[in-house]
């Protein structure tokens, strides 16, 4: 991967993705070999929006590479609430760290941050935009279970606001994957994502009903439909109920179907699915560690001219 930052999944080529996932596999096979690789480097965790899970996952991945982490703490207590711009904040933190991980409520925040600093920036979620490290771990999970070619993937739930969905859908266009999108009409894919998919020649097949496609799926990726998206609570309960799955729903699915979810789930996947062979979401969450280790390892290596076999790194 010759990237200086990881901002969107659309920036990643098939080669980029495979290089990180190969490395993630190597990390998972022999974590000890990576234990002190980046001793003496510091990673800043800049979360302008709470996300304990993602923050812990990056923190753990960094520490397993020998990286120290610093954390700007809760947003309320930082200078953000005093009105400092993101551009200024990241320019200051750049002096404290060798790379930044950024979670921010506004779309495009990571792009802006990357324009303001010369250390690698990893987008850990920007509003309803992108969450590309989640995508890499999703792809890793799919690849380890099914490979990434000649595959049919269904993505279900909130496709409009779900950033994990946007990143995953665009990354999957690098592979020979049929994608089906299952959602209520009000939560269909946004225009910009649809545009990207059409640009790559991918077909966008949209459905309102999972039953239309479940028999054909190798992977079913479920996302949460959030209450805030609906003006009316009754409407929310009615719609969300139609996109909930349980063990009975999966009777119609092929035996090898993997059910995935970026977690946390609320009730869109019933607990009785956990006991079936379809459940892959905890494995998926655990894959965050080797994948984020591989990602940080790659970006720090790219950012270090000495490690780059004499090729000038444009920083």
């Amino acid at each position: 991967m010759r990237q200086d930052h990881l901002i969107t999944a659309t920036q990643l080529s098939r080669d980029d993705i495979e290089a990180v996932l190969d490395r993630a596999r190597a990390v998972a096979d022999d974590p000890a070999a990576y234990a002190d690789r980046h001793a003496g480097t510091v990673l800043a965790l800049c979360f302008f929006e709470p996300s304990t899970r993602t923050r812990m996952s990056f923190d753990s991945a960094a520490k397993r590479l020998g990286i120290d982490t610093i954390d700007m703490g809760d947003v309320d207590s930082s200078s953000v609430s005093k009105g400092e711009s993101l551009s200024d904040t990241v320019r200051v933190i750049e002096g404290y760290a060798d790379a930044l991980v950024l979670r921010h409520p506004s779309e495009g925040a990571a792009t802006l941050a990357a324009e303001n600093v010369s250390v690698p920036v990893v987008n850990a979620g920007d509003g309803a935009g992108q969450h590309p490290s989640q995508t890499l771990l999703d792809l890793h999970t799919i690849r380890e279970n099914h490979g990434l070619d000649d595959l049919t993937v269904g993505i279900m739930g909130d496709l409009k606001y779900g950033r994990t969905v946007h990143s995953l859908a665009s990354a999957l266009t690098n592979f020979d994957v049929n994608q089906h999108f299952i959602s209520p009409p009000s939560l269909r894919l946004p225009r910009s994502v649809r545009f990207d998919l059409h640009e790559t020649g991918a077909q966008v097949r949209e459905h309102e009903d999972l039953d239309d496609v479940i028999e054909d799926l190798d992977v079913l990726y479920v996302t949460r439909i959030q209450k805030e998206r609906f003006p009316d609570e009754n409407e929310y309960h009615r719609v969300a109920g139609e996109y909930r799955i349980d063990a009975d729903t999966l009777e119609a699915a092929p035996d090898h179907l993997s059910v995935m979810h970026p977690l946390p789930r609320v009730d869109e996947i019933a607990p009785d699915v956990d006991k079936t062979d379809h459940a892959r979401y905890f494995e998926q969450a655990h894959n965050g560690i080797p994948v984020r280790m591989a990602l940080l390892d790659t970006l720090l290596e790219n950012a270090d001219p000495d490690a780059d076999e004499g090729i000038e790194v444009d920083r």
């Binding site: 409520p105 506004s106 779309e107 495009g108 802006l112 910009s192 545009f195 990207d196």
Partner: protein, 152 residues
């Protein structure tokens, strides 16, 4: 200049924007940030018969020449437009607009949750795509509604 343009009086110094798609003249003025309060002499011809466009609009602005970023945005709503710079009643420069690869600082992003719509010290930047423009920050695509998002 065609005979039809004589309906609108000649200007001494300024810019004539010709071959604007019929109905877009007021949007052209919006791009230029002209609403009359500047005291500039402005004449507008709307739905003038044209061989090339069927119907076209013409905008004449006295004592004003256009910046490159204004021409860039103009090209998005009036791709066939020609721009004539007038000095002492003579056309001293005539050019067709060309579609730029990107437009910086003129349009505002329609996505309210975009980082460019916060207090950040950042100019908007849009990539020009097939039939519209796309925000470099949040990827939102702006099509027919470009004129509504001109930031002047």
């Amino acid at each position: 200049m065609s005979d039809h343009e004589l309906r609108v009086s000649k200007i001494r110094n300024g810019t004539v924007i010709d071959h604007v798609e019929g109905g877009q003249a007021l949007n052209v003025l919006a791009i230029l940030g002209i609403d009359g309060s500047e005291g500039l002499g402005v004449s507008v011809g709307m739905n003038v018969p044209s061989d090339r466009l069927g119907r076209k609009d013409i905008v004449k602005v006295e004592d004003r020449e256009l910046s490159q970023s204004e021409v860039d945005v103009l090209s998005l709503i009036a791709p066939e437009a020609s721009i004539n710079i007038i000095r002492e009643f003579e056309v001293v420069e005539k050019s067709r607009v060309t579609r730029p690869d990107s437009v910086t600082g003129v349009l505002s992003c329609p996505n309210r949750n975009c980082i460019t719509n916060t207090e950040e010290p950042v100019e908007t930047r849009f990539e020009v795509v097939a039939d519209g423009v796309r925000c470099d920050y949040c990827s939102t695509i702006l099509r027919a509604d470009i004129a509504d998002h001109i930031d002047v």
